[in-house]
């Protein structure tokens, strides 16, 4: 277990031989948490192995199933080593070890990204607002301001300065974790997996630090269920105005653009648009800003010629942004030391000189590491560049597409490069005859990666063809999204904690992650709406939150206009960007601490045990593609929340699967007696990849069942599970008997048919325990 004991000395006045000192403050770290009366739990600032026992328990039930992405290892000069069929490499590692090692690497990359994002934000905000600026994520409505940090680190951060201590810890742990992936370190795949879970846990801390810092300081909505609606979609930008496009995740530069516009009375004359999570953040900062869409909209929006200046910060930004920007003659401003784009550092240069170079085309872009200067340069450049550019675009006109399509060699390389195997050659063949309809039909399922273009031997701009062919649809993309609200209020947790734990609210379903969808973002919106209508609590974040918005019902309303933003049954809650995912974990933790009054401080194992056994929550990352998404998911696994991914998510190369056919895996302790009790496969899996949306929906309902459900709650959850299975699969699930503990669990409306099934399966009644996997929580030993 680590310690974060430091010291701060404040001296009002000091006379000495060398002179008089006033208001001297010496900070050698701080003593944090000294004002928190709650007794610390067993794992304050846990090291890699402090929670290993918990990890081994859950990995015993949810065993890894590996699907290697590559048969060889090429990470050191011993190799390449062929690890096929469990051969060992030159270092002695086998395939299971190698796969888990790669998963750990991915999660370390993801966690490092959030943690370094948090460090940058905290440093920037401290520099601007001071170390003593208080943490405030929801005023009086949020007393537990940092549930993940409190749980993991055992400290209660009150100021921005306190967050530095937390970051010191996660950075240290991250370095240790990364070191474990070196050649000749860890050999056990299960220990690698335990470290994956540790990486996920510290990732959640890093995300929470980033979000509570920016929410506290930048005026974002503070746990507001009625956060305003903002505009989202390709068609929302007023293209008669100069347009600034911000891309990435880290908001300071984008915020300074808005500041500069406001301070100079220019905001009405310039459009500020965003892609990916910076887009979430700018609407949290100022809801007049507009979101273009998720990551997959980057290429199409740049090529449209609409943006006059492109400002990039960090994460999930296409690595050909500068190349694409040059095609439309738009200057690029890089603002982050982790994403410099090969541009010259102009941070210390005169603003007007930089603007001149960008507008004249003397320089295609500039690296500026001072957010305030970025704000001024971006605005001035936009105002001058827009009249010159005249929205110069890189998308061909219809006649150009038809002529170009005639050059197609029908080699199929585009289709073989397409992640979704879209029938591009066939569409091009029709286009060559003047019919663009098939090309237009590809738009919905195209993830905008442009691999088709890279593969084309004659250089056809296939992605641009698709966007042009679907032009009418693209321009009509105008929707509403509820701005990311941040944390869930304590009072909301008090109201729904009981119904969730007892099972009367059938579940909390979080739609999160990236936009690497198998069949377009529409599927995410359809899933979210289905579960909101079924009175689950639906939560969203990141690109998934945007995809949910980009859908309209018959009345032309998008989901955020239909459903309430409250964390309540039937609500649809956009918490915000990637780093706001921490509030979803935070809500689960707060159910245990606020509703159930479980000790929170440094008490990870008990809280995770509580969530796994009682909080019917599931995450759905339908288009997850990034290392960050891997880290986020692993944080949820350690906390006992299962995650479902779409088919592309199988490429994370490892699932964590339960075996419902092995009854011995599904016993818990009854905390009242110490007896071991069979509780059925609830939840059945911890990390699961679904082939289709329908499969995911039935699995969501199933994974929300928990051993602690009351009979009323279980009956309700079974109703949804069976109903969805009947509707989408056409059959009653063949494992219903495993989820019925007593006859009172059986949904009344399905009683006759379920009882018939139970009789056929030789079902026997069981008790409903006070479930735990932790012997130390047993209050009285059984026989």
């Amino acid at each position: 277990m680590g310690e974060e004991k430091n010291l701060r000395i404040k001296i009002g006045e000091l006379k000495s031989d060398i002179g008089l000192l006033r208001n001297l403050e010496i900070s050698i770290g701080k003593l944090i948490g000294e004002e928190w009366a709650e007794e610390a739990g067993p794992t304050v600032f846990p090291s890699i192995t402090d929670l290993r026992e918990w990890d081994l328990k859950i990995l015993q039930r949810y065993k890894p199933f590996y699907m290697p992405f590559c048969d060889v290892c090429c990470l050191c000069t011993f190799g390449k080593c062929d690890l096929t069929a469990d051969k060992r490499g030159a270092c002695g590692l086998n395939m299971a070890g190698q796969q888990s090692r790669i998963v750990l690497l991915a999660c370390c990359i993801g966690a490092a990204t959030h943690i370094s994002h948090a460090r940058h934000l905290v440093n920037h905000l401290i520099e601007k607002f001071g170390r003593d600026h208080s943490i405030n994520v929801g005023g009086l409505n949020v007393e537990v301001e940092a549930p993940v940090t409190r749980l993991v680190c055992g400290v209660k951060p009150k100021t921005l300065g306190d967050l530095e201590d937390v970051l010191n810890y996660v950075e240290r742990e991250l370095t240790r974790l990364l070191s474990a992936t070196h050649t000749g370190q860890e050999e056990s795949n299960i220990d690698f997996e335990s470290k994956v879970l540790h990486a996920g846990m510290i990732d959640h801390v890093g995300m929470e630090v980033a979000d509570i810092a920016q929410v506290s300081v930048l005026g974002f909505p503070k746990a507001d269920p009625e956060a305003p609606l903002a505009e989202i979609g390709f068609g929302v930008a007023d293209i008669t105005k100069p347009v600034i496009l911000v891309i990435g995740h880290n908001v300071p530069s984008a915020a300074e653009i808005i500041n500069y516009l406001m301070e100079n009375g220019l905001y009405g004359g310039v459009e500020v648009t965003g892609l990916c999570c910076t887009a979430h953040e700018i609407t949290r900062y100022n809801p007049r800003a507009k979101i273009v869409g998720p990551i997959s909209w980057q290429l199409r929006f740049i090529r449209s010629g609409i943006p006059d200046v492109i400002v990039v910060d960090e994460q999930c930004i296409r690595a050909d942004t500068l190349v694409e920007a040059q095609k439309i003659k738009a200057p690029v401003i890089a603002t982050s030391d982790v994403n410099c784009l090969g541009l010259p550092d102009r941070t210390k240069d005169d603003v007007d000189k930089i603007v001149h170079d960008l507008v004249s085309g003397a320089s295609p872009g500039a690296l500026i590491l001072d957010p305030a200067k970025v704000g001024e340069v971006a605005v001035k450049t936009t105002l001058l560049a827009a009249p010159k550019r005249m929205k110069f675009k890189a998308i061909p006109d219809t006649s150009g597409i038809i002529e170009d399509a005639k050059r197609c060699r029908k080699c199929n390389e585009c289709r073989r490069a397409c992640p979704n195997d879209l029938p591009i050659p066939e569409a091009l063949a029709e286009a060559s005859n003047g019919n663009l309809e098939s090309l237009a039909n590809l738009y919905e399922e195209c993830i905008g990666c442009a691999r088709c273009e890279s593969a084309c031997p004659v250089g056809l701009q296939i992605h641009s063809f698709i966007v042009k062919a679907a032009e009418k649809k693209v321009k009509e993309e105008k929707y509403k999204i509820r701005v990311g609200r941040g944390a869930i209020q304590d009072v909301e947790i008090r109201e729904v904690g009981g119904p969730i734990v007892l099972g009367e609210i059938p579940g909390v379903v979080a739609f999160v992650g990236c936009a690497n969808y198998p069949k377009g973002g529409k599927e995410v919106a359809e899933m979210a709406m289905e579960f909101a209508r079924r009175r689950y609590i639906v939560v969203s974040s990141g690109c998934a939150a945007m995809s949910i918005a980009m859908y309209k019902d018959e009345e032309g309303k998008s989901p955020y206009e239909i459903f309430s933003g409250r964390f309540d049954a039937g609500g649809l809650v956009n918490v915000g960007s990637c780093v706001a995912n921490s509030h979803i974990a935070g809500a689960a933790i707060k159910i245990a601490s606020i509703f159930a009054k479980r000790r929170l401080r440094g008490n990870y194992e008990e809280i995770a045990d509580y969530i796994l056994n009682r909080v019917g929550a599931a995450g759905v990352a339908w288009g997850a593609m990034s290392q960050k998404a891997a880290a986020i998911a692993s944080g949820f696994w350690r906390l006992g929340v299962p995650v479902i991914v779409g088919p592309h998510g199988l490429k994370y190369r490892r699932m964590l699967l339960g075996r419902k056919d092995k009854p011995e895996d599904w016993y818990v302790y009854d905390a009242r007696t110490g007896d071991k009790v069979y509780v059925g496969p609830a939840p059945e899996h911890l990390f699961y990849g679904a082939e289709t949306k329908e499969e995911a929906m039935v699995m969501i309902a199933k994974l929300c069942m928990r051993p602690n459900d009351t009979t009323k709650g279980r009956a309700m959850k079974l109703t949804h599970y069976i109903d969805l299975s009947k509707r989408l699969f056409g059959v009653i699930p063949d494992d219903v008997h495993l989820f019925v503990r007593t006859l009172a669990d059986v949904p009344i409306t399905m009683r006759d048919e379920i009882i018939k099934i139970l009789e056929g399966k030789g079902w026997k009644e069981n008790i409903i325990p006070d479930p735990t996997l932790l012997p130390r929580l047993v209050r009285k030993r059984g026989g």
Binding site: F65, M67, A85, D421, K651, R653, E691, G730, V731
Partner: protein, 181 residues
Amino acid sequence: MGVAVEPWQTAEIPGPKKALAITNPQIVVSLIKRSKNPIMVVGHKAAEVQLENGLLIDYIIRISERAGIPIVSTPSIQSEFIKRGFSRVIGMPLVDIANRLADPEWAGIEGKGAHDLAIFIGFTYYVGWLILSGLKHFSPQIKTISIDMHYQPHASWSLPNMSLNDWGKNLEVLIGGLEVK
């Protein structure tokens, strides 16, 4: 065979051990005959792909019936089998059946012991690719055959890349070679 035995998705390069190409569907017939306890694993595309003599699922049912092989299908198309009067099918998510096939102790779909041969059909290319990779590396006791229309390098044997039309013809030859059980 050139492109016929390359991964259909260009970047899905596997490694040193690649599937043997099935140049003649009779090879599949022989493999099925030699197997003591085969199983067919069917993905959701079975109910989507139209071939000359019906949907892919209709071909799959004929294979199963003639060879006497039980089917595990992705749950979303189980009812399509039932609608066609075919009952020797169990709906199970792909990751679940793969996880069980990798377990040499598993009693098999009909309780007759571990399967020694699994025939895969009806999958999104990369999904089949990954699942077959898992089985190639972690279940040496089972042989796998992909009879989808694109070459699956992680299977033990795989049909090569071919057109929809040729695929249908190859499936007909396969069906024709199976004895009625």
